[in-house]
């Protein structure tokens, strides 16, 4: 088990810069997720930690030691690939035993360790089969068993769940987290799926266009996004133009054309110096009410329902407020508002987070 550090990492492919000046500290035993859309550089970072790519500039440290010049087969890492990458011509047991052959593990111990790894991933009986005979979820577990049986210093997971069906993906998510907790290995997980990132990580690193946008716990990243990109990438958000104004103590007050005065708690408006700003309001924090409802303590404005996207337990509304369109995701109480209905759109000021505007 080891920490991982990226120091001023730059990766260029010809004229294209895939990673700009990445700095990252991954503590020992942590589960850290690199999250972002495809092409944001998250996989490039992972492959550089793995030793599958060489950084153009900067240093990579594993357990405090510089590994730039250490080839992949000497780094002692466990990697799980998106498509599992099991050896099709070897049995499951031979696949899991593969890494042990290159570590001075006595032959007598190998079978026992393979069996223990298969038990850890809850597939103790498939050792004699070939990968082809297993389902996608089972192959994924074997790939995980093969990566952890060598007791790696760091476990690297490259979108390991994205090839699975939706239901299976959620089961594997819980399973993966359970196994990681149990063996306590430092884990770097790459995904473009925000719900996977929120559910599994100790820390999320949000990336966009080769840059690290924000590093924080799932709650920090979700509740106080550091940029408009982060706000939009992690769930549906409304961005409301605002201008800072003088106001009450204990908060930062903004003037908004859509909702009038909004006072955001100071902790949620760090980094806003004055002048133009943007308020981020999560779609599920914007509630639609019958017109004329009691809106004491709320910020409210009348709006028109434009589109109703019914999802069973919840409903997603697109509403119009003057020349703006906003989204609201609400639990359904009795029945949803119909299209064209006039409603009151309301939220609590403390649910907003403020970003510097442009």
């Amino acid at each position: 088990m080891s920490s991982v550090t990226l120091k001023n990492i730059v990766k260029r492919f010809g004229n294209f810069t895939a990673v700009h000046q990445a700095n990252l500290e991954i503590p020992e035993g942590a589960f850290v997720t690199l999250l972002g859309p495809s092409g944001c550089g998250k996989t490039t970072n992972l492959r550089m930690i793995a030793g599958l790519l060489d950084p153009t500039e900067g240093e990579i440290l594993i357990g405090g030691k510089r590994v730039n010049d250490i080839p992949i087969h000497k780094r002692n890492l466990g990697i799980v690939f998106q498509n599992y990458a099991l050896f099709p011509h070897k049995t499951v047991a031979e696949n899991v035993a593969f890494g042990l052959k290159y570590r001075d593990v006595p032959k007598s111990e190998i079978a026992g360790r393979v069996q223990a790894a298969l038990e850890l991933v809850q597939l103790p009986q498939v050792g004699d089969r070939y990968p082809k005979a297993l389902s996608g979820g089972q192959q994924q577990r074997i790939a995980l068993a093969r990566a952890i049986v060598i007791e790696p210093d760091v476990l690297l997971l490259d979108e390991p769940l994205s090839a699975l069906d939706a239901n299976l993906r959620e089961d594997m998510r819980v399973e993966l987290k359970r196994i990681q907790d149990k063996i306590g290995v430092t884990t770097v997980f790459v995904t473009h799926d925000q719900s996977e990132a929120l559910a599994m990580s100790d820390k999320i690193v949000v990336m966009s266009a080769g840059r690290i946008e924000q590093v924080g716990t799932p709650e920090e990243v979700y509740n106080t996004p550091a940029s408009e990109f982060v706000a939009n990438f992690l769930g549906a958000s409304n961005i409301i133009e605002a201008r800072s104004a003088t106001g009450e103590a204990g908060g930062v007050t903004f003037d908004t054309p859509a909702f009038g005065r909004v006072t955001v708690p100071a902790a949620r408006a760090a980094g806003v110096a004055g002048g133009p700003a943007k308020l981020v309001l999560r779609a599920e924090k914007l509630t639609l009410l019958e017109p004329g409802s009691d809106t004491a303590g709320l910020i409210a404005a009348p709006a028109q329902v434009e589109t109703v996207d019914y999802q069973g337990q919840t409903v997603r509304y697109f509403i119009r407020l003057g020349d703006r369109q906003l989204q609201a995701i609400n639990l359904i109480d009795e029945r949803p508002f119909p299209q064209g209905a006039t409603v009151t759109a309301a939220f609590r000021a403390k649910d907003c987070a403020a970003l510097p505007g442009t």
């Binding site: 087969h73 498509n83 050896f87 099709p88 890494g99 052959k101 290159y102 093969r146 990566a147 060598i150």
Partner: protein
């Protein structure tokens, strides 16, 4: 007509032109050859129809034919081995060359645009007494008189390798190209060096392509008669040259028929063994 009957008929309608061609142009003539092989050639040069085993007895018992058959198989085996050793690294290089793959494959196919006979004869201009290599060696003073390098078994094998190498490269390429590159990365990450992961993972997974390329090279080499004719000496005749000799020169069609069926049987047996263990699907992949 019911839907089922129509669906059943459709493949046969689509296949019928090709089937007609294969039956008329391959099976019927082959049948003639089988019938011919039991006829008898008399001293006057006329063929006597009937069921005579004389040609078969001569073809199967004469040591001359047996030695040439074994020699042919030996040349085919050496050619196949050389093609495998030279073709595998080339195929590996192409399969791992990313965006240049299409251009490299095109270059590989380029020789097919020139007639096989012309390609074979080009060696005369290179290795002949007044060829490029001799002229160069004379000019540099390494030799004082031209050396005869042509018309031996080595030049026959050289010509065959020149002709067959692309078939080997293509077959190995197809199977290497189908191997997920993550497999080698996975093997490396587990502690195997690049060479170890090649031996443990890539090589075994590419064996079907190597076998398909090998079969193709072997069968084509064993059936060749132009290469030994152009690049071989009098003692380098291969089995197909005997068939040519019997049918065209001696006009002994019955014996030529028996000999050609013998070669067909030997090569057919090889294909059958291959099919038993590896299946034809891999070969089809390499050809497509």
């Amino acid at each position: 007509m019911s839907v089922e009957a129509r669906e059943k008929r459709q493949p046969w309608i689509l296949l019928s032109p090709a089937l007609t061609a294969v039956i008329l142009l391959l099976f019927v003539p082959l049948l003639f050859i089988v019938v011919y092989s039991f006829w008898l050639r008399t001293a006057t040069g006329a063929d006597v129809a009937g069921f005579h085993l004389d040609n078969w007895q001569e073809a199967l018992t004469d040591r001359f034919y047996r030695d040439i058959l074994l020699g042919t198989l030996r040349i085919a085996a050496i050619t196949t081995l050389v093609c495998a050793l030279m073709g595998y690294p080339a195929a590996y290089f192409i399969a791992r060359s990313g965006g240049n793959k299409a251009i490299l494959l095109l270059l590989l196919m380029l020789p097919f645009w020139i007639s096989y006979i012309i390609r074979t004869m080009s060696w005369i201009n290179i290795l002949g007494v007044s060829g490029a290599l001799n002229s160069f060696l004379l000019w540099t003073g390494v030799i004082s008189e031209p050396v005869q390098m042509l018309y031996n078994q080595t030049t026959v094998i050289l010509g065959l390798v020149h002709f067959l190498l692309p078939f080997m490269v293509l077959n190995v390429f197809v199977s290497l190209d189908g191997i997920d590159t993550n497999l080698e990365d996975a093997a490396n990450s587990l502690g195997a060096t690049r060479w170890q992961s090649f031996v443990q993972v890539t090589l075994p997974l590419s064996l079907p392509g190597l076998a398909a390329g090998g079969l193709l090279c072997f069968v084509l080499a064993a059936g060749t008669y132009i290469t030994p004719l152009v690049l071989g000496g009098p003692r380098d005749a291969m089995f197909a040259n005997l068939v040519f000799e019997a049918i065209i020169t001696q006009l002994n069609w019955p014996l030529g028929s028996a000999l050609s069926l013998m070669l067909l049987a030997v090569l057919g047996l090889l294909v059958a063994i291959y099919n038993r263990y590896l299946g034809m699907a891999q070969l089809m992949k390499g050809l497509g």
